[in-house]
Symmetry: C2
Subunit: 731 residues, 2 copies
């Protein structure tokens, strides 16, 4: 009895990356999205946000059809008021007008009463984007006749040709009640709007069907039980457990999966997604990893959350190893980098080739390129990390005899799971992996896509080395399309984020990563203050080195503060002359400018990190003014005083509230290697956990171990035992 | 020519606290709120959110009038399409139909074209809350005649009597252009909707006028220049500088201030607030500190941001003192608490009296009440803090000879500015203040309002003690209505938040304080694992102490894990019997339940913190299962193993990834005092900065001090100098 021909082609849009090519989109808004939480009307704000996004899709030239619920909710309120009024009239006049007012109101009556208002609302809303809408009501029976389906198809095509957005709803007034629909002629029953939307999508040959609901997608277990949102899904309902969390409930989800699966098998790409998510439609059409996407493609990566959890498990195994075993993993890695360098260069060449085609900036290309020299240095560095790692974990920080036979130790342990986000340099990967392994931490790595092939091979080598003594999942490469915004939501799974890259990367991570600590510094506005008692030669050399040794480094000088008494002296002249000799562009502060006979280029702001052969110069009346200037405009990174007066130096070093304060030394010394910390994990201008240059110690935390012999606190309360709290030697 | 009588009473609603009593509210939605960012229509989402809040106000029984902009924006799109069509017709037929299509379209024409659509949109939206609306268009001239004003007033009163929400707009079609309105007869000109709203508010005797715009209020300087939102404002425009940030611009703000000031002088409470803020109307009617509130009351407190900045300045002075000076402040405070106790008790009695009237829970009342005993203990504790403080700051953590004449030290310094949020116990205030002073930190205190009088006097005593050597602003009490949500926005001003109170307080702060670290623990789900090799007596005593010593403490046992081999043995029986003897309610885990002949009460979840004489019990096959259970269900606080097997204990202590891991000792030892750390700042289950019980050391960070003699990094690059990196003794 199969009267209807449906297209049976495979879905044209096979992956999330394809979704932006969609041309004909059906968006179904379920009642969970449209109805207010109090169930007494339509949720206007959400609707407005979705209309805005549908308008955006429409305006991008795509054809959109909206399948909507909500008429029942819209009408319920109207009919309830009406029923109350009728009832009160009946009471007044002592007679009974009808029969409907006593019990509950039929949803179909509500729908009829609400339909007009709902469409008017949509129409006003879409008008605001210059878009005309059209109302199309259909019933179950309409899909049983090829002729009616053809009529519907023609209508919708006509509307699309005129750039009108059709708004489709079931014609509830003449429909059977929702629970009474059977599968007719191979077409799923149109008893809910999911099926309705699926039918329409199949019959007009839409390429994308979006089912909007109020959960993030389809889960293999209820989210409250730690279920996993299914990213790639082969549609059979058996694999799915539906839990609490959705107002739709198990039944609603099953119908959604049935409808989605049916449309998918008929060649439509299908997405089930959360309409509560900000800019949901925009994101999913742009391929972001939200919602559950129906595809025949097999999953090729575990979710980032699962990866992070495996990192934690790995970290717990790693820290139980002997220090020599961790060191052995790292030295093995160092050996393998040398032994496998041909394969590494081959992968790297692929990245270089792609980058060259896309006109990547020369400097970036340089960072991306791996050379035998870089690999040798890297391998050597790894051996040093292995050597230094042996006394890292389980080191006593504090030991206390609390009472007789009750002792307490505070020892170093790994932080847990680190997320390191790095840009083009692939050599960062093995180095960071080695630091994580040395410190017993799990590691999630998110590299730049321009280094994709290089990162992949380097990571596979790290995995191989890890397997010597630990699970390879301990260091994991994030390869999904998950954006940083997704990763930073994993607050429970990630203990620390370390961005390794330019200021803009760090700033972006810091602003996104609410809730997970970020180790880094967004700005490096370092000052050199030349005191009145400065030695001329030291001033010249330190100022020059601070600015010119590596001008784009975060520890380079940005502002030079000069004591009033020096202006016009040989020291002042010599300092300026030396900077000019290196073509440093000098911006003059307002106070200094007043004193110059010929003014220079004025500073725009004292809070600029020039990152180039450029700096600001200002004069200060005394050291206090210099300190105030630094506190007002600085970034608490590194500040230098040049003076021969020990008391002044001491006061400056005590008063200036920055991570690094130097006397008669270049600001460029603010660096983990120069400080003797070994490999540098980062430089922190934050005040919590680590401050200034941070070595591998920054990847550690502590735990407290206590050993007793049946001790209870009650014994101390009763006086049976007493606290001694004696510090013990740390060996 | 003053034809119109306006009420001249003082505003009935004099403070933010009064606003919830408002009965007749005018809400004016400016075009900055209503118009989309692309200026091509109405911002539906914002409008919907505001309609929802106005509906809420209406439903609470208050009369609402909406004064709206937006018709021009609504009509612009319609007329632009129309104009394009006419133009294309003209081109087709070669004749000119009118004159308007060539240039820009008159805003009044746009308004006329948009008015109907805008009202229809409002009507559909309000209908969704069962609310009828009515359209009222007025012009400038309508306010010049007493008769028309009276007509308007009658109309609005009639509408209110029928519970209809009037929507008022200027009748632009017959109005003069906006720039041509003069002040007529003492009534401000109705040339913009701010003035229109103010006029309506005054003439119908509304008690609250809300002017919604797109900035947070009125500033004394542009926000971008660090301006301060004016909380209390005496309305003259001279005190105001208008800066960038608002699409309204300087002119719009001036008209707003003029209109607001005029209505204020006529007895209407006026608020200028940001319609972009979530639940803005709801918040301001409930007295939250958003927007600028017009009032004659003089400001009585500096803003919290200013307070925090003064704390930072104070902290910098405090850390420059000699350790003895900081100690002296604290001992002085200790003395003053004793000397002033009568005044303290008098203030405390006021709090107790108010609390008793409001039927405060007995336990809370107990915490609120100050006694001579509490003051004496507090004073004694402060002396100990003073004593311990002397070696806290400037302590060397690391010292390195970097090269010849180049040395490096890492020393302890204060964190900066702390925000401590505490509940009913006023004795927390001097204790926390002493810890902050001891560690050189600035301190913002936010206490519970039930302890208002006690906190005030205790804080004034702290200020007096501080003035001995430091600015009194170093420790500051937040007395404004600023809610936690406001405080946690001060990310630049506050370095660490420490909530001192119950779990719900800590959880709430942790979820709100995105970006500022919070030291604390939301959960304490501690486990005791009784191993197969446990000593019976130790097991009985430790389990009993861990659960019953103080059941509501965070370090009390919530789950008891018992090795399989012990089930049914005398040890097992003795442990259970002892718990039962204290009426501990026992919840049985599923595995144990299977083994019991008579099952008990099953556990709901292993992640419950009972905080009472109640716990869960489960059986585990071996120690690994116990460790897995703890990692799955625990909160990483404190876990105990009871065993006589040293190897098992060692493995448990190494494997369990919690802040505290104990062998044969009660979980109740997880406490700063019992650990010998002195006063406890908190217990952290976080892994960053501090972990486990935290003493005053947790309020410190470090800085790096380097002393050279003209050293540059170039000298090392050229080989003129070499790094030695030799560790130096710390003395």
């Amino acid at each position: 009895m199969s009267m209807i021909k449906v297209p049976s082609a495979e879905a044209r849009l096979k992956s999330r990356d394809d979704l932006s090519q969609c041309k004909n989109v059906i968006v179904k808004l379920g009642s969970a999205i449209i109805t207010r939480e109090d169930e007494k009307g339509v949720a206007l704000g959400r609707l407005a946000a979705l209309v805005e996004q549908i308008a955006e899709i429409h305006r991008s030239g795509r054809d959109c059809i909206l399948v909507t619920s909500g008429a029942v909710a819209f009408g319920k309120q109207i009919l309830t008021s009406q029923a109350n009024m009728v009832q009160s009239l009946e009471q007044s006049f002592g007679k009974k007008a009808g029969g409907a007012t006593g019990g509950t109101i039929d949803p179909r009556a509500c729908s009829a009463a609400g339909q007009g208002g709902l469409i008017a609302l949509y129409d006003s809303m879409f008008n605001q984007y210059g878009i005309q809408t059209a109302q199309v009501l259909v019933t179950n029976r309409d899909f049983q006749s090829a002729a009616t389906v053809e009529n519907l198809r023609t209508t919708l095509n006509q509307l699309h040709a005129m750039r009108v957005v059709p708004i489709i709803n079931e014609n509830d007034a003449v429909s059977a009640p929702a629970f009474d629909g059977a599968d007719v002629a191979g077409v799923i029953s149109v008893t809910d709007n999911d099926s309705l939307a699926a039918s329409v999508a199949v019959h007009i040959g839409a390429d994308l069907l979006i089912l909007m609901t109020d959960v993030d997608g389809i889960y293999n277990k209820a989210p409250s039980e730690g279920g996993q949102r299914l990213e790639y899904y082969t549609p059979t309902t058996e694999q799915i457990e539906f839990g609490a969390g959705s107002s739709v409930g198990r039944g609603g989800m099953e119908s959604k999966v049935d409808a989605a699966g049916w449309a998918f098998r008929k060649g439509v790409a299908v997405m089930v997604a959360n309409g509560f998510e900000d800019k949901c439609l925009h994101k999913l059409i742009n391929g972001e990893n939200i919602g559950t996407f129906f595809t025949a493609n097999a999953p090729d990566a575990s979710s980032t959350k699962e990866q992070a959890q495996a990192c934690r498990t790995g970290s717990r195994k790693l820290q139980l190893l002997e220090p020599e075993q961790r060191a052995e993993i790292i030295t093995t890695l160092a050996d393998m980098l040398i032994a496998r360098q041909d394969a590494i260069f081959a992968a790297n060449d692929k990245d270089i080739e792609i980058a060259a085609k896309s006109n990547l900036d020369k400097q970036l290309l340089g960072r991306l390129k791996l050379t035998p020299g870089k690999i040798a240095t890297l391998s050597e560095g790894l051996r040093q990390i292995a050597e230094d790692s042996k006394s890292l974990l389980g080191r006593k920080i504090k030991a206390t005899q609390v009472a007789d036979d009750l002792s307490l130790e505070q020892i170093t342990v790994p932080l847990g799971v680190l997320l390191v986000i790095f840009e083009s340099r692939p050599d960062v990967l093995p180095q960071v992996a080695a630091l994580a392994i040395a410190s017993g931490n799990g590691l999630l790595l998110k590299g730049g896509k321009e280094a994709k092939h290089s990162n992949k091979i380097l990571h596979s080598i790290v995995e191989e080395a890890l397997e010597l003594h630990a699970p390879k999942e301990t260091v994991s490469l994030v390869e999904t399309r998950d954006e940083i915004a997704e990763l930073v939501k994993l607050g429970k799974e990630i203990d620390l984020i370390i961005p390794r890259g330019g200021n803009s990367l760090v700033q972006s991570i810091q602003s996104q990563a609410k809730g997970i600590p970020v180790m880094g510094h967004a700005d490096g506005i370092c000052h050199v203050y030349v005191d009145k008692d400065a030695d001329m030669e030291k001033a010249v050399e330190i100022v020059f080195d601070s600015k010119c040794d590596y001008p784009s480094a975060c520890n380079a000088m940005e502002t030079l503060l000069i004591h009033q008494d020096l202006v016009g002296t040989p020291t002042y002249d010599a300092v300026i002359k030396k900077l000019r000799s290196a073509d440093v562009k000098i911006n003059i502060g307002p106070k200094l400018n007043e004193q110059l006979t010929i003014g220079g280029n004025p500073v725009d702001s004292f809070s600029i990190e020039y990152g180039d052969l450029e700096c600001a110069i200002e004069v200060v009346g005394d050291m206090e003014e210099a300190i105030d200037h630094i506190h007002t405009h600085g970034s608490s990174h590194t500040e230098v005083i040049i003076t021969e007066d020990g008391a002044s130096a001491k006061h400056f070093l005590n008063s200036v509230d920055s991570a690094c304060v130097f006397h008669n030394a270049s600001s460029r010394f603010a660096d983990g290697f120069r400080f003797g910390l070994g490999a540098e994990v980062g430089i922190s201008t934050g005040r919590i956990h680590a401050r200034g240059p941070v070595g591998v110690e920054g990847l550690l935390t502590t735990k407290w171990r206590m050993a007793g012999d049946g001790h209870t606190v009650e014994d101390f309360a009763t006086g049976a035992r007493t606290y001694v709290h004696e510090s013990l030697p740390l060996k």
